[in-house]
Symmetry: C3
Subunit: 138 residues, 3 copies
């Protein structure tokens, strides 16, 4: 059993690839097992997404910004938790809609990711943040 | 390896915190491991959310009620599975959108939850229900 | 510890039940443990849904097709990743919104599924596909 905490610095909304951080940590593993990642925050997410065309990540962010607009947008006037800024409550909502944890089988030390799958931290807040991801392998 | 079933009584839609139920069950654990929670229903969810301001939970419910209105709302006239009431099919949709299972690393018996993270059962049905959550630690 | 890869052939969007594929694979298991399923693609999902009324699955697909319309729909004109067809980027978005992995406790060889829960692969692409699901039991 291995555990660590990955630290990811973010500077605004969007998808930050962490696949190589995860692979580096699992570098010495040669056996079968299960990887779990768990993000220790309620305003960012962990997602598996296409790692080829960067426009997929641009479109992804654009979709979620339209699905959950900032709280100063007229359509969101019903929101009450607004004192940390217009990106605060939408970030919590996106963090409910998107995964807080990922579990990925590992075979002979290799993640079972498909050819086009990468692991991303999806930042929902505007300000820079230091994000902590608990990682577990067993 | 430990397994149990947590029983949660709900009385209408909203978020019910179960963090202390989970911690009480893990009370005797002092080692590292992985906690898995799995809700045995298709009309409620498990979410990690902010445990500080209660308005976050109010806003969360308000957002999802607007994203997936009751089936007697004009915008939902295309729904067919309506015989259990207007909150039935929307509950299934919310149960697809939000997590059915959560996996959380445990270090020296402590859940890797961030400072502001709580574990909630998110009830989507209007009537009172008894909800069963399968819990597994290994 | 057991690992395998389940192969599922799909022929257009919708929910394909794989509960019996999973149960058949776990057939020889009599102990407690944890099942993890992980889909190795970014344009389909794994969901737990009601296994009784087929209209639940019809309604589910109808909802997500309205939430994330094809990229040639006027409301989606902002999307850029469109060269693989109008169902391409919406499939990636649905794959972010819906689970890529599921973890289900197993007790004495029995999945902790509730009475009305089935395991489904949710295909988001129009063309026929061969989908691979990594399965892990420990």
């Amino acid at each position: 059993m291995l555990q660590t905490e990955l630290i990811i610095s973010t500077h605004g909304p969007g998808l930050y690839e962490i696949t190589s951080d995860v692979r580096n940590w699992l570098n010495s593993v040669e056996c079968d097992g299960l990887l779990t990642l768990f993000v220790r925050h309620t305003s960012c997410s962990l997602v598996i997404q296409e790692n080829a065309d960067p426009e997929v990540r641009t479109d992804m962010r654009a979709f979620f910004d339209r699905l959950v607009p900032p709280s100063d947008h007229p359509s969101m006037a019903y929101l009450r938790h607004t004192y940390e800024g217009p990106d605060d409550m939408p970030a919590h909502i996106k963090a409910a809609l998107l995964p807080v944890s990922l579990t990925i089988p590992v075979t002979s030390g290799q993640l079972a990711l498909g050819m086009w799958q990468g692991i991303y931290l999806f930042e929902h807040r505007t300000a820079a943040h230091t994000r902590r991801v608990a990682a577990h392998f067993a």
